[in-house]
């Protein structure tokens, strides 16, 4: 009798585990179904100081003495920036974007550090910009998610974007319009 009861309890416990697993799977699928499609529009960011050369580059953004040619400006207070971080983290193509750096504008250092760690974007050159002071003082940009594109150290273009692949396509298209092949652009 005791054995039968024991097995009944065991089966009930297993059933509960399966039930909760199904709830979890269902909630994940409902959340995915409710997500709006990501916009691929890449629009110019008004008000950025085009043509300016930054006085200094934060150490975290400089790799082997070179400043990045594209700077993504994210913020810990911006919801779309979580999606951008997710794209950078999950896509193997974006993960190999060499000449890109990330500025994380934030209210406090610990909040910015948590944003970097939580979204696993620490492998990219990055700088936690408390108050957005560096990016505002250098480029007059207080908007996220945005991208700053540099040519020969000068700010050449600034964009608002939601899709990283669309942004990269836009940057490639813009450099092609200048008549320079993408691979030669950095050596000019």
């Amino acid at each position: 009798m005791l054995v039968v009861l024991g097995f009944a309890v065991l089966i009930l416990a297993v059933g509960m585990v399966v039930l909760f697993a199904m709830f979890g799977e269902l909630s994940a699928r409902v959340a995915q179904a409710g997500t709006r499609p990501r916009s691929t529009e890449v629009a110019p960011l008004e008000g950025a100081r085009l043509g300016c050369v930054p006085d200094t580059w934060p150490a975290g953004l400089v790799t082997a003495g070179e400043a990045p040619s594209v700077l993504l400006v994210l913020s810990s207070a911006c919801g779309s920036c979580l999606d951008i971080a997710e794209q950078l983290r999950d896509s193997p193509v974006e993960a190999e974007w060499d000449d890109m750096g990330i500025v994380i504008s934030t209210s406090h250092q610990e909040t910015g550090d948590e944003f970097v760690a939580g979204n696993k974007i620490g492998r990219f050159p990055h700088h936690v910009d408390v108050g957005g002071s560096w990016v505002i003082s250098q480029f007059d940009v207080n908007f996220s998610p945005s991208a700053l594109v540099f040519e020969d150290g000068q700010l050449a273009a600034a964009y608002i974007f939601h899709d990283v692949a669309a942004l990269r396509a836009k940057i490639t298209e813009a450099s092609a319009q200048l008549g320079l092949p993408q691979q030669d652009r950095e050596t000019v």
Partner: protein
């Protein structure tokens, strides 16, 4: 005085084989359950501080007060782009997010256009 030394009969104290087998089976089931639970829950990534989505903002606290109040004293304000067009201003006032929300010491707010 009568000595009560009972002679041990070989095999009398030994448990029946069925009991031993049952104990082993339940031991294996319990061990397997513990191992599964450790694998599933033991290696979960730590939860980060919760933030709340409002329009394109991600705020530390539910929005209270207004933007003008938020922008007085120590604050952080940033703009974000809504997916469907338009922009919002997201404001965090006071101490870091991790310290929690406390009336006018730390609160969040946002305004969209």
């Amino acid at each position: 005085m009568k000595l009560m030394n009972k002679q041990r009969i070989p095999g009398e104290d030994a448990e029946p084989r069925s009991h031993v087998a049952r104990r082993r089976f339940l031991g294996v089931v319990g061990g397997g359950g513990l191992a599964t639970a450790t694998t599933v829950f033991g290696f979960a990534s730590p939860a980060s501080a919760a933030t709340l989505p409002y329009a394109c903002c991600h705020l530390c606290c539910p929005p209270t007060w207004n933007l003008a109040t938020c922008e007085s004293g120590f604050h952080y304000v940033w703009q974000c782009a809504k997916t469907g067009g338009g922009t919002c201003q997201c404001c965090e006032h006071g101490s870091p997010c991790q310290d929690g929300c406390s009336g006018k010491l730390h609160f969040s707010t946002y305004r969209c256009s």
